[in-house]
Symmetry: none
Amino acid sequence: MSPRTEKQYEDIREERKIQIKNVALEIIFEEGFQNTSISKIAKRAGISKGLLYNYYKSKEDMIYEIIFEGMDNLMSIFDPNKDGILTDEEARFFIDEMFNMLRSNIKYWRLYFSVMLQPKVMLLIQDRFMKMMEPFMNILVSYFKQKGAENPIIETRMVVAMLDGFAFHFILDPKHFPLEEIKKRLYEFTKTMKP
Amino acid sequence: MSPRTEKQYEDIREERKIQIKNVALEIIFEEGFQNTSISKIAKRAGISKGLLYNYYKSKEDMIYEIIFEGMDNLMSIFDPNKDGILTDEEARFFIDEMFNMLRSNIKYWRLYFSVMLQPKVMLLIQDRFMKMMEPFMNILVSYFKQKGAENPIIETRMVVAMLDGFAFHFILDPKHFPLEEIKKRLYEFTKTMKP
Amino acid sequence: MSPRTEKQYEDIREERKIQIKNVALEIIFEEGFQNTSISKIAKRAGISKGLLYNYYKSKEDMIYEIIFEGMDNLMSIFDPNKDGILTDEEARFFIDEMFNMLRSNIKYWRLYFSVMLQPKVMLLIQDRFMKMMEPFMNILVSYFKQKGAENPIIETRMVVAMLDGFAFHFILDPKHFPLEEIKKRLYEFTKTMKP
Amino acid sequence: MSPRTEKQYEDIREERKIQIKNVALEIIFEEGFQNTSISKIAKRAGISKGLLYNYYKSKEDMIYEIIFEGMDNLMSIFDPNKDGILTDEEARFFIDEMFNMLRSNIKYWRLYFSVMLQPKVMLLIQDRFMKMMEPFMNILVSYFKQKGAENPIIETRMVVAMLDGFAFHFILDPKHFPLEEIKKRLYEFTKTMKP
DNA sequence: AATGAATGAGCCTTCATTCAT
DNA sequence: CATGAATGAAGGCTCATTCAT
């Protein structure tokens, strides 16, 4: 019953923010980015609109935080050794994890794509986004180089495009997406990348 | 003194509709689907908001027309023989054309992706969209079957995902996209699809 | 095939106007005064909006013409002898005719009431309206005076209010209105007005 | 510094709603239902258009609330004993009160008539309206039956039509309406309803 | 830390009216 | 006489954001 310590306040604050983010993702998923209002988020989160602005200084701010947090999560599963080298096994692990993430975070990915398609938002995000992606890309390039690919950069592009494409298809219609078959098919790239 | 002939009215309408569609795509490209308002379109097209509703009965209506017209265009370049069979040569032709379309219709593609991400819109579009895609998909399935692919449906999915992925990357940053290299890399699929 | 005479043009004009008025009444009845637009009227009448303005200089103008024409019709059935005196028989005839009119002109009456409830319109109509009603009222006053009513003016007011009330109820729900019974009940006033 | 209590918020809301309703009625009275816009209401009430939607979820919603509240008020003065029987004295009391209401609520009555004439609105209101009117009508029917009327239902219809007619005339021109004389004349019905 | 009333700019849409043809 | 494209003002409504409490 003693007054809360600063740490406790911080924890409460952090929990609230997470809760708000989850609610936001849920509504964006259900109704689309365009139809998601601050009011709805606040109402479903069980707090007042005013309080929401206590946690995020604007709607944009909130969206950005959600986006970057999601990216951080994605990155964290990649290259678990942090040694900058990707073994075939790690690649397969990555494919698995990638789809796990897709499956458990459909809501996030829908938002991710929506936001990417807003040019002005993109400008703001791009820098940070690129910095995040760089090590990811570099590792893939190395991986394909080591596999003897003729043009490792193009190969990387292809893989990333494919992954984004799958993600896109998956979020549009998760029920009919042949997850397992696609995964198996992708494994082959870890064996036979070099034609 | 006599009223315009029916033909004249038709011409005026046709021209205006094209003009409006172009302006709409331009703004959607520049500012994102979400930030594109009827006001902006009318202002940039140099017409009154009211007139816009003389041509499209709602904003949704306008978007649909643009979307489906774009799809028709895309479909029309595919399988030029209309024989339902895709030769390797036709496949390469398709890849070329596909990227030509991407390059000359970036604006359209941004809209395409944006619209796909709107849950409510999707419901309305999905049916018609699926019907349009079906023959396209079937041809690809046949193509991969004939090439001896183990699972032609998955193979088709992969190609389509990849193409969507490329399209997505391309519209996000057309300047840095290695169009020619990617194209060349894709040609290889027409030779060695069977692993 | 010779060019039309001025008279012929006038006739065509008059016919057109009547047709337009009928269409207007129909739509106002179906959709309410508020939701009746010039466009709808023109379309259903099979003419262009522009032409409509050739016949009526404004929407208001058209409404007024419809209203006053309807009033003229009503007045014309009243006191057929034009002798300023109302016999009991004439009174019964009037009651009959009144309801016939209601029945065959529901559309008109709905408009009549709607217009009456627009204060600004009322101001414009009131003068002409009152002049039209005056002889009608005077005859009723005489009628009740002759019948020995204590306060013939009040009696007249009552009758007119009742008639308006019936008209109102009738246009709201013509199917369930007990026309015949009400008529019979009203006949009694021509016998026993004096309590 | 602490937020307002729930009671305080409730009070603010209640006051605002009343204020909005009054302003709405005033403008509808002055300009007619058709010419009354949300903008005008908000401007005259000295609030923003947006705030109005904080209190009523649509213009229709607002109108309904005003209409039904008015009806409740009207009903509440009728048959004060709530015993379902109307004595002559109560009938006279009702006549008095009815005209008091007319006088003090002209604005409401204009709205009432206007709304009744809107076909689409009527459909929505009709059910609730009829349910409200039923006991009122039943009591009148009993009253006339007990008075020995030949056809109590028709008699009730007549009275109601007359009252509506008076109301209609009164709101059109309250200054010249002979309220007292009409009232006196109506009292006679409570004595001599049986012809 | 917390509330929700209040704002104001902007949204999509409608419509009486004008006008070149 | 006749057309319908075009306008512009207004309509109902939404929403991110602010602020007194």
